[in-house]
């Protein structure tokens, strides 16, 4: 199934892309996606799935839009 992954902030530069269409198996979690793309989960991050804050153990669904951003704490 297809999902869209969007990266923000420093993750863009670390991963070398800002958005990507991914083809994943049912049951795939956001943590699985991050691991597959070698995105460092040790970095503080905030994740939104279709605009709602979620954790990395969230399973993705077909058509999801996932945003992974560093934690920002205030301009």
């Amino acid at each position: 199934m297809k999902v869209t992954l969007k990266l923000a902030g420093a993750f863009v530069h670390a991963a070398g892309f800002s958005h990507k269409e991914l083809d994943v198996e049912p049951g795939t979690t956001i943590a699985d996606i991050l691991a597959a793309l070698a995105i460092d989960r040790g970095r503080p991050m905030v994740i939104a799935r279709n605009g709602h804050g979620v954790g990395t153990d969230e399973e993705v669904q077909a058509g999801d839009r996932i945003l992974v951003s560093p934690v920002f704490s205030g301009g």
């Binding site: 902030g9 863009v12 800002s18 951003s69 920002f72 205030g74």
Partner: protein, 612 residues
Amino acid sequence: MDGWTGQFLRVDLTNRTHRVESFSEEFAHTWIGGRGFAAKILYDELAPGIDPLGPENKLVVAVGPISGIPAPNTGKTIVAAKSPATGGYGDGNLGTRMTDQLRKAGYDALIVEGRAASPTMLVVDDDRVEFLPADEVWGKGTIETNEWIYARYSKGAGVLNIGPGGENMVHFAVVRSLEGRSGGRPGMGAVMGSKLLKAIVVTGSKPIPQAFPARMKELGRDDLREVHRIDKEAGWSLQGTTGVLPWCNEVAALPVHNFRGTHHPDAWMVDGERVHAARVATYGCPNCTMRCGIAVLDDEGREAEVDYENIGLLGPNLDLYNLAEVGALNYLCDDYGLDTISAGGVLGFYADAVERGAAPGEPLFGDINAFKKVLGQIAHREGEIGNILADGTLPASRAFGHGSEAYAMQVKGLEISAYNCKFIPGMALAFGVSPIGAHHKESWIITYEVNQTPRESYGRDKAQKIVDLQRIRGGLFESIITCRFPWVEVGWGVEHYPIYFNTITGQDWKLEDFWPISDRIYAIIKLFWLREFPQTDRTADYVPDAWFDPSFADTEGPIAGRILERDKYDGLLQHYYDIRGYDTRGVPTRATLESLGLAAEAAAAEAYATLT
């Protein structure tokens, strides 16, 4: 007195006199410095009801015990006065060489009184004070004025100046310094302008008194390197504050079309990735190793320094998605000496009012040239519209009428920063209870709230988080003084700051020792507001009606149909008051004031209001 110079410099522009005043160690330990000094001085010395743009108002430029000492991000100075935007206490911080130069000149605060007879540049060199003519640059932008000053003094001088916005007493005119630093959103630049004070230049040659200077030098050097290393590793300054824009857009927190929208498909065109790609220069404050001032070229090829706030409000909030055009409005605001956040709020409000038939004029949304023209009219108070808008959204909404006050996006007269809280209750409350009007600097809980709490919750935990953040950001950081970014953006531990404080002052304070002082500072600011508005009630801490209006709700996207609920917001506000020890009006109780060492102020307050 290690850590403080122990002296204020008081300058009277009317009589062109000055005097040096001493303050006690007890005073220093009670108020620390920066915002603490400014709030106490203004509370003690300003008579209630004075015209903020009259000679009776005072401008306080204040630093703190760690200010200017080489250590992570200590280059900040506070500028404070009674605000023409709000009628209450106003302040702001800005990165500037004024910070270390004022201390080296021998002062922890500069208090400017009166009104000059003609445009003046105040020049302080250690003990020497001069009042020099500034007619040559009166009417000039802040960029040319800075160059004019630098041609006469070294670039190491501490310089604060204003542009036409301040000269014309635009209520959201700021004080400017260096190449892109601004501070004092609630009209501190207008207060300078009202005094015909074009610029302040300070140079000093004295050592800053420190208890353990050698230890501090080593500690500061090592920690500056470490913050730099952490930032490089995290990559925060690659995009600086602009990196947050995609997240705000994704979770429906971006101001779009005067806050009517919360997200937009074109927002990526002005996000941090685009800013990074367009970067032509980087600017930073003194003693900063994670510089966030990213300059891009505007539509006329000029360097424009951008950040998240000004992109959000001068970009999507105005339906502008061209980075060079957004940069142009930023450049103009900086040169006029106008606050970019409020300018974006005012322009968005006016465009909205025109669209709804509440204000005269041609459609503006999405039209860069129209916005440039109106911005110039505001800075110079040209024409009826320019003059009305120069007073800010709240007075403008009252002038336009037709119900436009509901969508004047401000709190207490200060325009809301670039976080659209139509369905983010805690962040909305943070704007509501900010002590200077709607500003994000005090308590930025939005990522915590959206990611770690149920977004729809109005629970006490959110009010407690706001108080916790106010104590750190609005109290500790604004009084010692330091930039909040190492802590908030790259995780530099807050426990480092008492170490700096103790090394410089010779004290042995723990982190928790600062919280009562933070609370004391917030309480005396509350008393300042109470004295100006004795009939105040809790509605002063409410956010705009639009955020409670179902017709303002998104019609699509992640928060479609959702909006703040007034009764629940009121409950959240009460949680905040309960934690703070304030009564149902939002006024500190007598017991709270006494517990904070403000018994005398409590007794004085009885003359103009009732305490419970």
